[in-house]
Symmetry: C2
Subunit: 269 residues, 2 copies
């Protein structure tokens, strides 16, 4: 790649389009530290399960283009599906151990698809650094551990979750929510905030923290909970010591819309 | 990588050491077309099965070093096993479809190990072209298809099998052969030569070609035959038309030593 040869620092923001402020914050972070910013828009079929929302996944390409241009993105990669998965395609990445639980249990094959397409993007667009949003916490760890294990020459920069004013984590899927569901969904970020308060007030029992969050979700009428889990922040395994860096992760369905969110639990803000 | 930045063409010869003329021919091919030649020596544990010869695999590092230096290799990568597989390592490559049969059947997990380590080497040493020997025919296809599927920015150059004067394909494992086994082993390349003659004389029936080769191996006292197979030269699937490019592949054990060889079947030499 000539840009790389010229010594330019290239930042990559991989996305599935339907861009919101969360994505744009990644582009801004890239803009701040890189000479060249590349973005990809590719709704990756291999990370969707057979009953998931691949066909319905929002596509807002014209708007996305404008937003990226306004932020001065130099390179946009928007391949057709057959370019990424041509006939005969049959090589996959078995994602690292951190992929096995949580989303890995709820969405079998999801992280295999993620790991495979992200590795391909890192081969096609040999950036120096890729920017990912912490909202997809487990995905960030999957990509980080994959890059470490396969020694892909790229740095992974994790950026903060961007939220609506009332706290709901930004997500392309939020637009599926009907008005009542939108109110219910608020219980997700509120549960995480409460867990953080409890944690800072000294509560260290994962089961207790999980229980309170589940109660709060139930009280809001969210009855489909895939998981509420307090885990080790680096391995996502159950905590083995109460002083380990911890994260609470939540996955629920509000109506037919699946939403995830998470919060690092730290003794101080 | 600064060399790449400087516009140098980098050739890579990945090996497991115990170098013989086959490996050195790859280095010479790299030397001819590249500005910089890198070689790796790594006996990759993940491509050996639990009952295979990982511990016994020949290691001749001092000799290898001298041979590579004499041929002007600029870069040698010789990592300890813990550098390639540190604690926590858990990401693997599921190799492409062409890995499934033949060696894939006889050596479960072998090509997963090969694909994973080769992908890692291609990340660590971002060469423009890698040189592989056709003696490991299926391995060449596995690497080529993986590189195509994952869009790894490297070219794969397949080089001819180098043989002893009597026809035995060079292999690091030949040194295991005792004198009587060495004579028996000759039946492998002779069977392939005979298949080629028969093919050029008009024989197109895979079963007939395989049968004759098996008879020749048996006559030489080789009673452990993993496979003798005439297959499509690009997919390794059974031939669907008699005019398809074809290859005969053989894997046997001579005594305790497993040997493989192959021959493209072409109407003309």
């Amino acid at each position: 790649m000539d840009l790389k040869r010229a010594g330019k620092r290239i930042g990559l923001v991989p996305t599935m389009g339907a861009l919101h402020e969360g994505h744009l914050s990644l582009v801004r972070a890239a803009r701040e530290t890189c000479d060249v910013v590349a973005a990809s828009i590719f709704v990756n079929p291999t990370q969707f399960g057979p009953t998931e929302d691949l066909d319905q996944y929002p596509r807002t390409f014209e708007q996305d283009l404008r937003a990226l241009a306004e932020l001065g993105v130099e390179l946009l990669y928007h391949p057709p599906s057959e370019e990424i998965y041509p006939p005969g395609f049959s090589t996959f990445v078995v994602p690292p151990r951190v992929a096995n639980d949580l989303e890995g249990q709820c969405r079998p094959g999801h992280f295999r698809g993620v790991a495979t397409v992200v590795l391909k993007l890192f081969q096609i667009l040999p950036a120096d650094v890729a920017f990912l949003g912490r909202k997809d916490y487990q995905q960030c760890l999957v990509v980080k551990d994959m890059v470490r294990d396969l020694q892909v020459p790229i740095q992974i920069q994790i950026c903060p979750t961007i939220r609506e004013q009332d706290g709901l984590a930004m997500s392309s899927r939020n637009r599926y929510l009907q008005s009542r569901e939108r109110s219910q969904a608020l219980a997700i970020s509120e549960s995480l905030q409460e867990a953080m308060s409890d944690y800072q007030a000294g509560e260290r029992d994962p089961t207790m923290l999980e229980l309170r969050a589940k109660e709060k979700l139930a009280a809001a009428g969210i009855d489909h909970v895939d998981y509420v889990a307090v885990r080790c922040a680096t391995t996502l395994e159950p905590l083995s010591r109460p002083d380990q860096p911890a994260v609470m992760l939540i996955a629920v369905k509000v109506g037919t819309t699946r939403l995830i969110d998470n919060q690092l639990l730290t003794a101080q803000d």
